[in-house]
């Protein structure tokens, strides 16, 4: 699941289009996307869905916000585009880059994943978590007057429980605008225990606009949950998750400038704060991941995969971020196929992590090369960068917990390579590095055929 979480830290990008629909200026991410589609500064915007939104906003004379799906090489980018008429032209703000997903990969559309059909009680709420819908028959069966709850806060109907780490999954879902998996709660006015799940409703600008939810009656909380091995991650998770969710939500609010105009500097700071917060949440995810893979019973389900395809997809997922950093990624040719045995998502997680590191440590204007090889015995994927390299004495250290390639460099939490190697070994393969200072680094992932 890590792949969907990994923040491809491209903030909202801006561009300016003139009255004739010609691109006047663009941030790197948009410029790259536009160049891939054959466009350039001074020429008409070449990404058709975005050009359509810009044109419509100019002609209607109002802000047009719309989610668009843009094809960029191997990946589809799920972007939201906000076009605001400005003078004769249009100012574009494009976000959602981090939501990139592979073409053809199963979508994680919350509306589909969260089934409400078999729910014991269904509920909807708005952005302020006020109930706008409660299923009547079900409510009455549970001894409630559903109408009395309409318009009231969600918490008048459900008393929410903190999870094992002391956080409220519901607030977490709001902050991340992600579907709510399981929030344990008690139905008010009775001692009935329920588990809440919900799909997130977003507005055009991607802001949280409410839940479409379900409640299922559950037995009393299993005592086994409390018997989880107490590790240091529990404390960290407990301490971080809820406040982080709050910080992100507030920073996003300031960033969206919905409460009125905010000075541009502050809007940018807010974006930085939100990104930093998401980064920290990513760390919390990593720690939870870590806890999972360190358990004695951790196992993966190996299946036949194509390592060259995995490498290409990872390169596609990181192409926007690489462009932003002025780094090019050379990926395996489309025709190449390298059969391997492993877990697709975990292999992709490893490749995304390796490529993300390579892009982070690469100088502007350099190239990161991804290759995939099949020597008949094992399948190999190699990520090579032109960065400053890793000294021999550091090459073991970087695979340790909380170790970093360059401790003086910002970003990265020191868990990625540790998790990547653990995952590679769990699949019967390995992850090693070859490097000499000044000569870049080569990370080599091997998987059984």
């Amino acid at each position: 699941m890590k792949v969907d979480n990994s923040p491809l830290d491209v903030p909202v990008s801006h561009a300016l289009v003139d009255a004739a629909g010609l691109l006047v200026s663009a941030d790197p991410a948009i410029a790259t996307l536009n160049a891939h589609a054959g466009g350039a500064i001074g020429a008409p915007l070449a990404v058709a869905p975005i050009a359509t939104v810009a044109r419509l906003a100019r002609r209607l004379g109002i802000v047009v916000s719309r989610g668009v799906l843009v094809a960029d090489d191997d990946v589809d980018l799920d972007l939201w585009v906000r076009a605001q008429p400005e003078g004769e032209g249009v100012r574009l703000a494009i976000g959602g880059w981090r939501e990139t997903r592979m073409r053809g990969a199963p979508t994680r559309d919350p509306a589909i994943d969260v089934s409400v059909g078999d729910a014991d009680l269904r509920w909807d709420c708005d952005a302020a978590l006020r109930l706008t819908f409660v299923s009547i028959g079900a409510g009455r069966r549970l001894g409630l007057d559903p109408f009395a709850f309409l318009g009231r806060p969600l918490t008048t109907l459900f008393q929410l429980d903190e999870d094992g780490e002391g956080a409220l999954p519901l607030l977490d879902a709001v902050a991340r605008r992600r579907q709510l998996g399981a929030q344990r709660a008690t139905l008010r006015g009775s001692d009935r225990r329920v588990t809440l799940s919900a799909a997130v409703r977003q507005d055009d600008a991607g802001a949280f606009a409410g839940f479409v939810g379900a409640a299922r009656l559950t037995d009393p909380a299993p005592v086994a949950a409390a018997a989880m091995p107490a590790t240091f991650t529990e404390g960290l998770d407990k301490a971080l998750r809820a406040p982080l969710a709050r910080i992100i939500a507030n920073a996003d609010t300031i960033n969206a400038a919905t409460d009125g105009p905010v000075q541009q500097d502050y809007v940018d700071y807010a974006a930085d704060i939100a990104n930093a917060g998401r980064h920290l949440l990513g760390l919390v995810d990593d720690l939870v991941d870590l806890q999972g893979i360190e358990r004695a019973d951790f196992a993966l389900t190996p299946e036949p995969i194509d390592l060259a395809d995995v490498a290409r997809r990872a390169a596609g997922l990181l192409s926007v971020r690489a462009s932003n950093a002025g780094v090019a990624i050379a990926r395996p040719l489309p025709a190449l196929s390298v059969p391997a045995t492993g877990d697709f998502r975990r292999a992709l997680q490893i490749m995304v992590n390796l490529l993300g590191n390579a892009v982070r440590y690469s100088p502007d204007g350099s190239v990161v090369t991804v290759t995939a090889l099949d020597d008949g015995k094992v399948a190999t994927a190699i990520v090579a960068d032109q960065g400053k390299g890793i000294a021999v004495e550091d090459q073991t250290r970087i695979f340790g917990k909380f170790e970093r390639v360059d401790p003086s460099e910002a970003g990265g939490n020191g868990l990625g390579l540790y998790i990547a190697r653990r995952l590679a070994r769990a699949m019967g393969g390995d992850l090693v590095v070859e490097s000499a200072p000044g000569d870049g680094a080569r990370f080599i992932l091997t998987l059984p055929r």
Partner: protein, 366 residues
């Protein structure tokens, strides 16, 4: 076991020939329907979602009335120790809709107009993009339930409840009542009652007691129907209570659309234009939108507000053409408010008068 094939009996042969003739009739009907269907222009054809939703709603309404009347009539009969007849009534459930459709009664213009409008409205409202005022801000209707003006708050609460009921009924296909305007409900109840009686006579013969029980049950259904409970009526009461001033109208309409409360949007607009709910609803669901733009201009809304409303409706309704609207927006915004009002004046006439005028116009185009 006989080795000689059974001799076909004479009545069997007759039945085969009759079946053959009937098949020919059906083939003719099928061909006619195919021709009609093939040459239907796209803009008048029902799309599949609407057709499906419409069929479900019609079945749910007729089914609800059918069950209601049978059940009550059976209870009356059982009270009179006519258990056999009561059971025969209950056992006959089903078939009413087919009978009414075959008789051409369900093709009633008013009924279908109402149902199409309701279905289109539901589908559009469901697909409207949600727009939040500000993060953590409650949605429009929820905020209205909390205003100091008790009349507005009470009406807003009622609307939240009515829309919840309507949505559950639509989803489950199990209606509590028809939720039709009184006149249509009245007509439909008697049709259903007549079909129930016809089937009862055919199965167990005519019986005065059964007739009386069916009539009593139908009258009970009529008495229980309160058209003031309908979401449309509740929305009108809310719009009346809000009584938006000219300068509040635009923001209120935009917020209603952003909260996906199309019923409230229609009601507020109807109140502003001094028109009936169904009239404005008809304008709102027209994919071309031409009359709606006039209506919005008649209400004095500016270019940006009209554009916002049009954009939201276009996002929700694939039949709409936002590019064409953008082409025409300057012209639309240029219409003077009094001119727009004059153009729509006939829509403010008494409903019966409008229907009579429409009927005359239809007769002329025939």
């Amino acid at each position: 076991m006989s080795v000689v094939p059974d001799q076909p009996r004479a009545d069997g042969i007759g039945a085969r020939i009759a079946a053959g003739q009937a098949a020919r009739g059906r083939a003719e009907a099928r061909l006619s329907a195919a021709i009609t269907d093939l040459f239907l222009p796209d803009h008048v054809r029902l799309d599949e979602r609407t057709r499906l939703a419409l069929a479900r709603m019609l079945a749910a309404i007729v089914g609800a009335l059918d069950t209601d009347i049978r059940r009550h009539a059976a209870r009356i009969l059982a009270g009179q120790q006519a258990e056999a007849r009561a059971e025969a009534l209950l056992a006959g459930t089903g078939g009413v809709q087919a009978r009414l459709a075959e008789a051409g009664l369900l093709g009633d213009r008013g009924l279908i107009e109402e149902l199409v409008a309701r279905v289109r409205c539901d589908l559009i409202a469901d697909a409207l993009p949600v727009a939040i005022g500000a993060p953590d801000q409650a949605s429009l209707l929820v905020r209205l339930t909390e205003v100091e003006d008790g009349v507005v708050a009470a009406a807003a609460k009622q609307l939240l409840g009515a829309e919840t009921r309507r949505r559950l009924a639509t989803e489950s296909g199990a209606l509590a009542g028809s939720e039709l305007p009184a006149e249509l409900h009245h007509r439909l109840v008697w049709w259903v009652a007549a079909a129930i009686r016809e089937a009862a006579v055919a199965s167990v013969g005519a019986d005065a007691g059964t007739d009386r029980a069916i009539v009593d049950a139908a009258q009970r259904s009529l008495a229980a129907h309160d058209e003031g409970d309908r979401a449309e009526a509740v929305a009108m009461r809310l719009a009346l209570a809000i009584d938006a001033r000219a300068d509040e109208l635009g923001p209120l309409l935009v917020e209603a659309v952003g909260d996906r409360r199309l019923t409230l949007f229609i009601a507020v607009l109807a109140r502003a234009g001094g028109m009936d709910f169904p009239v404005v609803r008809a304008l709102v669901i027209e994919p071309e939108g031409d009359r709606l733009w006039l209506m919005l201009r008649a209400a004095g809304l500016d270019r940006a507000t009209i554009a916002r409303i049009a954009l939201s409706l276009a996002e929700a309704d694939p039949a709409r053409d936002i590019e064409r609207f953008a082409d025409e927006l300057d012209e639309i915004a240029g219409i003077a408010t009094p001119a727009a009002r004059d153009a729509l004046a006939p829509l403010t006439l008494h409903a019966d008068m409008r229907r009579a005028l429409d009927a005359l116009a239809r007769a002329e185009t025939r």
